[in-house]
Subunit: 337 residues, 2 copies
Amino acid sequence: MAILNRMIVLAARPEGAPQESDFKLVERPLPPLHAGTFLARTEFFSVDPYMRIRISDESYAEPTNIGDVMLGGAVGTVVESKHPDYHPGDAVAGEWGWQEYAVSDGKGVRRLDASVAPVSTALGVLGMPGMTAYFGLLEIGRPKEGETVFITGAAGAVGSLVGQIARIKGCRVFGSTGSDEKVAYLEKELRFDGAFNHKEVRDCAAKLEELCPSGLDIFYDNVGGPVSDAAFGSLAVGARVVVCGQISQYNNRTMARGPRMLWRLVAQRARAEGFMVYQFADRFPEGLRQMSQWIREGRITYRETITDGIENAPKAFIGLFTGQNIGKQLVRVARPS
Amino acid sequence: MAILNRMIVLAARPEGAPQESDFKLVERPLPPLHAGTFLARTEFFSVDPYMRIRISDESYAEPTNIGDVMLGGAVGTVVESKHPDYHPGDAVAGEWGWQEYAVSDGKGVRRLDASVAPVSTALGVLGMPGMTAYFGLLEIGRPKEGETVFITGAAGAVGSLVGQIARIKGCRVFGSTGSDEKVAYLEKELRFDGAFNHKEVRDCAAKLEELCPSGLDIFYDNVGGPVSDAAFGSLAVGARVVVCGQISQYNNRTMARGPRMLWRLVAQRARAEGFMVYQFADRFPEGLRQMSQWIREGRITYRETITDGIENAPKAFIGLFTGQNIGKQLVRVARPS
């Protein structure tokens, strides 16, 4: 008898902020395993802000359609295999999305060594968010020792790593985030030079002026909107704006308006550059090696916010937009075996 | 008896669009010539959009103050000299601003060879605007053969050169400008692949879509505002936005608002970079050599719009903001001797 595979599919394209009703838990029988494929059972899958774009009509890549299983990174264990290279018990990571099981031919699958790091890290510090922080900061931002770096969404999966990498590179590091608890996390645990709660600070521009009187050499933006406007006002000459994400804008129904910032780029001889992590895919081995080493040395730490149960994935996803998570938000489908 | 030197001084900081009353023609006696200095009589001086910023409180550099002579590039002839290296009759260019005469110690002065090109070109194609076009396009834009380049303010001193350099580099070149006469100039004389009058075209985004269906690889922006918004909507993957100027914004009393564009940079993995020409000052000899060669080969042509009489300089300057000029706007103070 075929195994029933539980999965979350897209039920409706969200209008504005996503609702739980935009998603549906369905059960579909797994297809039989063909030669050259294996079956993995999901332990964790990832919910990430970028998925908001990918389930919209405005997606930069082929959008997830109504009825499709939700996309995203997942880690799990091979439970059955007709593939010569994969065996039951192997830990693997892939892009099979929000489902309990996946059949794979191994394409895009990465083997994990659970003795090196917990497999969940393959979705965070040693996965897409880690590589986004690493290459975004180092290749787009190009930090130099002594420079000042400001990060929005600084307690998130990416931002929390950007700040730590910037510190390793000898930068002074500041961040904005959405709660006092997260401010404390940044200042005490991650040893940021300063952080503030952008929901509480009335005048972010004045706050930045106070924290970083000589301006921002690098502004790593995950958020967009008013706090990002304030940062543009504080750019130092020669600044680099690493445009990683704009989570405050993803739920907009129409293009939001804000202050025109292009002249700031001229006045400060500054650069704003958007990127997507897969541009650096051929260098992931280097990035993973370096991040692993920094973790071993205790120079990079990470947090995970874990939501249990596939049925709670929509809630976990929706929570990203109100800042429910610290560090990487994961959904745990099954306990690691 | 001392020569009376006529000059235009800043009478008031403009509020919004500059008015003639913001400037004043005054006469001041020239100081006696000391050893190591020379006296030059101005033939032409330059009026440029950047001066609007430099006479405001928001200037990126030390602003021109009330009562100061207006700043800017000028060319002229040495008429008297106590400097060992300069002799009467020498053609020179410098930054002595809007005045009939200047005393100089030679600092920042460039010698001109009127047999190579008319001296007025030292303020245009072989001067600051030429270098702005050359280094802005080549170093910030980094054009590759076959790419599509779109230029706002395309018939201006800088834009008209950017388009021609881009054509030399094998790009397809499109531009927006503010009159049908200028559209004809771009398409017929400069052989742009397409141009449009942004004051007449109702939907610039649709127009760009029609002209450049595969998007803009380079967007060289001199203007800002709605036509620039449309161009951001047409960026190709990997696009470079060369932010040279934002003339549509310089007269704003408060920061204007427009569509938030940062997400576009992410979606297109694009870069927007502001610059100022003096960043490339040490490479001006190379730029001038190359531009001179292209002029000799007939591959670069240029136009000048000449206003006669120092008393008409404010009018010529004000006209930049309504697009009165084609190519480089100059003020002729005296006929070349």
